[in-house]
């Protein structure tokens, strides 16, 4: 009985993974990135006004992101990510965990929160 349970659970798991893979290969599964408004630019001073847990903007690699909705979902401890709200966080994003960058999946996810570009000062 336990072997049957194991086999059924394992088969269902790999079927679900397979469905996710097939879905990614269909054309509809391209990440939708919100259009950045032409000319929508923010200075670091504007970014700095959004430096709280409920209103958290970050400047990463020349773009500005509103990560307020994402913060509760970030896997690490809040005290790791919260200090970067309202700041230029490119270096922190590139060097998480002893110099290693974020994953490709994180890059895709980040783009769904883009607001505009950073105005060079």
């Amino acid at each position: 009985m336990s072997r049957k349970l194991f086999l059924v659970a394992t088969a269902l798991f790999w079927m679900a993974v397979g469905v996710a893979w097939l879905d990614s290969r269909s054309g509809s599964a391209t990440p939708v990135v919100p259009p950045v408004e032409v000319g929508k630019r923010f200075t670091l001073a504007e970014v700095a006004r959004h430096a709280t847990e409920d209103d958290c903007w970050m400047a990463i690699n020349g773009k500005v992101y509103d990560l307020s909705a994402y913060l509760p979902e970030h896997p690490s401890r809040p005290d790791i990510i919260l200090p970067w709200c309202g700041r230029e966080a490119s270096e922190a994003y590139r060097t998480k965990m002893k110099g290693r960058p974020h994953s490709g999946m994180a890059d895709q996810l980040l783009e769904t929160y883009v607001m505009g570009s950073l105005l060079a000062e």
Partner: protein, 415 residues
């Protein structure tokens, strides 16, 4: 019911505390399901590891080693199923955001260390579970493949550490490592074992040896009906397999000697048929409470093959104080171990009678062996033997109106 209370309480704590501390607030349903399934799975793994620890005092407290190994099996399976839900719930959470992100959450090449370690832990768990549930694998291979499950736990702990763990939850992975070390150092490397030496070997039947062991340091506080885990090492002309296997005590000596009946059932026990005096052994235990607290009144003992040993130990310790009838079944004449000794106990006539029967390879007709008398439902029944024989005997006794609480049996299924 009272016997499983301590284990139920400990499991509730091991599963409940991490789930309570990590329970998400204000997150989406799938994100919350992913977090809860991760911590629920880790709590069940902790309970699984607790049931793997082999200490006589713990086994006594948690209802016996055989029951602990049963729970170890089911906790492991439950943890596996819950943990499979963890990555799928994360993918569903991403899918709810954008369908394209679901595969990005699962694809290992789109991950970093937390994802890689999570995948490695899951694959080790999958491979380890597959081998653990394979009944036909030789025991030594099965044991080696079981290390995959320990590797899965270590990788899962690393997965939690690189995710960044808060202090209140830190005890959970530390406890997992502690439980594994406890088991490996105390049981597998024999730190909890007592040294003995083989003082006598005799062969009471085909493929069975009875080994008498003398303590080299202290004697064990054992009772008839209990079993020990024994690993045999080297002697003048013997090289041991150094693996711990369960054996029922067949006699207890006045100076702390133990006798064990060993039947050739696998590679190691086949090799033990050539044991010789002077071989050293590590003994863990004693475990079990079969025949202890034997209720007053009539008793029926049913033994199949090497399952005769706990009853033999009881008879060798002294005549029963209330009427006992023993039904002893053996495959063929050459397998009838200890039959002469049992007949001499029966001839002494002190509350002990015997029915010995050659049964071949099939389960016997119990209606011929155990007549359905009016006294049978009030009889305390003790069974020890191969699982098929025990199952058939339990079925027959229940059908004759013997209450389940009066049927006691031991199976020695430690895989």
């Amino acid at each position: 019911m009272l016997r499983i209370m301590p284990l139920a309480l400990l499991t509730t704590l091991l599963v409940g505390i991490p789930v309570y501390w990590a329970f998400p607030e204000g997150l989406g349903i799938w994100r919350s399901a992913a977090i809860v399934s991760g911590w629920l799975g880790s709590g069940l793994l902790l309970a699984n590891l607790l049931c793997m620890i082999r200490e006589p005092w713990l086994a006594q407290w948690l209802g016996g080693l055989e029951r602990m190994y049963g729970w170890h099996h089911w906790f492991g399976l439950a943890a596996y199923i819950v943990i499979l839900c963890h990555p799928l719930a994360l993918a569903l959470d991403a899918w709810a955001e954008q369908p394209a992100l679901a595969w990005a959450v699962l694809a290992p090449w789109q991950q970093s260390w937390p994802g890689w370690l999570g995948w490695l832990a899951l694959l080790c768990l999958m491979a380890g579970m597959s081998s653990a549930l394979a009944s036909r694998t030789p025991y030594s291979t099965w044991r080696r493949l079981h290390w995959l499950l320990a590797a899965a736990i270590i990788l899962a702990v690393a997965h939690l550490f690189v995710l960044g763990l808060d202090f209140p939850l830190l005890w959970s992975p530390l406890l997992a490592i502690g439980f594994i070390l406890w088991r490996v150092v105390r049981a597998d490397y024999g730190l909890a074992a007592t040294p003995f030496v083989v003082s006598e070997v005799r062969s009471p039947a085909r493929d069975i040896v009875e080994v008498q062991l003398a303590p080299l340091s202290r004697a064990l506080d054992a009772r008839p009906g209990q079993f020990v885990l024994a690993a045999f090492h080297d002697g003048p002309n013997f090289r041991g397999c150094h693996e711990f296997h369960p054996f029922t005590i067949s006699a207890l000596g006045a100076l702390g000697e133990l006798s064990l009946g060993i039947k050739a059932l696998g590679d190691c026990t086949q090799h033990l048929q050539s044991l010789e005096p002077g071989v050293t052994a590590s003994i863990q235990g004693p475990f079990g409470d079969f025949l202890s607290g034997q209720a007053a009144g009539r008793s029926l003992w049913i033994a199949g093959g090497i399952g005769i040993t706990p009853f033999l130990a009881r008879l060798r310790a002294g005549p029963p104080t209330s009427p006992v009838h023993l039904v002893y079944l053996y495959r063929g004449e050459q397998d009838a171990a200890y039959l002469h000794e049992l007949r001499s106990f029966a001839q002494s006539g002190q509350h002990f009678s015997l029915t010995a029967r050659e049964s071949g390879s099939k389960a016997p007709a119990f209606s011929d062996l155990i007549p359905a008398t009016p006294e049978l439902p009030g009889t305390n029944c003790y069974l020890c033997g191969p699982p098929g024989l025990v199952a058939a005997a339990v079925h027959y006794l229940l059908a004759q109106g013997v209450p389940g609480g009066q049927i006691h049996f031991e199976r020695f299924d430690f895989r």
